[in-house]
Assembly symmetry: C2
Homo-oligomer: 142 residues x 2
C-alpha cells in the first residue's frame, strides 16, 4: 500500500472512531457515500448514509449507550484506481446492557474516490469468534 | 444495475455454489483473484486464492462434509468502472457434526475486472442472527 492510501483510510477510521465515542450518529455516517451499504454483526443490511446515521443514533442511545470503540487498521490495498479495500480490527466496550463487555470484530471497508472526497461505499462487520469451539484442522499459515 | 453486471455476478456465484456442493476446494477458490481477501463467519481473515482453496478443502472434508449451500443474489451495483459490489444470501445445510442444521448468512463480494476476467477481490461473510434478542428500536425502513 502507499502511505497516501493509508492516510486516506486513517482519516476515515478516525472519524468513525471519534464519532462513535461521541455517540454522534450523523458524524459516524459522514464518511459514507449517500448510497452506501452497511452489513452489521447480526447480518442486517442497511442502505444509505441517512439510514446508517439513524440506525447508529438509535444504538448509541440504547444498547450501546456509554460504549467506546477502538479501531486498528489491519491492512489497506488498492483494488483499482480510486478504490481502496481496508480491514479494521474493532474493539468495542459496552459498560452495561445486554451487550455489556468487550467485543472484538473484523470490519471490511471499500472506499471509493468521488472528486476530492473518498467515501465508504460498503462496510461489512463480523464478530471474531472466541478460541475454536471445534477443530477444523487449520494450520497457522491459513 | 445492468443486466450484464448481474450476469457477471451470477456466473461467479454459480461457480461458488456448484464447487461447494461438489466439495471442491480448488473449484471454490477459482473465481477469486490470486491476492483475494476472505473473512469468514468467525471473523477469520484468509488471504490468497491458494489459502482459500486449502482452507475450504479442509472444511469440506471435515465440519462441512456432506453439506450443501444455496446462494441468492440480493443486490448488485457498480462502484466504479470495472468494480462491482454484490450481496448474497447464503443458506447452508450441514447434515451432521458440530454445525449440524441450517445456517443463514449474508455475504458481500467485491468483484474486479482483470482483462477479460472478473475476479472476487474480497469476500466477507456474517451469520444472520435469529430474530432479535433485544429491541433496538429499529423500524422496518432501516
Amino acid at each position: 500500500m502507499s502511505s497516501n492510501d493509508r492516510q486516506i483510510i486513517a482519516e476515515i477510521v478516525n472519524k468513525l472512531e471519534t464519532s462513535w465515542n461521541a455517540a454522534d450518529g450523523a458524524g459516524f455516517a459522514q464518511p459514507f457515500s449517500e448510497d452506501a451499504d452497511f452489513v452489521n454483526i447480526r447480518g442486517e443490511h442497511f442502505r444509505t448514509r441517512v439510514a446508517i446515521a439513524k440506525g447508529h443514533q438509535v444504538i448509541f442511545d440504547t444498547i450501546y449507550r456509554g460504549s467506546s470503540v477502538q479501531f486498528e487498521v489491519e491492512s489497506v490495498r488498492s483494488l483499482d484506481s480510486g478504490v481502496l479495500l481496508a480491514h479494521l480490527k474493532s474493539t468495542l466496550r459496552a459498560p452495561s446492557g445486554p451487550l455489556e463487555g468487550e467485543h472484538h470484530s473484523l470490519i471490511s471497508i471499500v472506499v471509493v474516490q468521488d472528486g476530492n472526497q473518498w467515501r465508504i461505499a460498503a462496510l461489512h462487520n463480523t464478530l471474531v469468534a472466541q478460541p475454536p469451539s471445534f477443530n477444523t484442522g487449520k494450520t497457522a499459515s491459513e
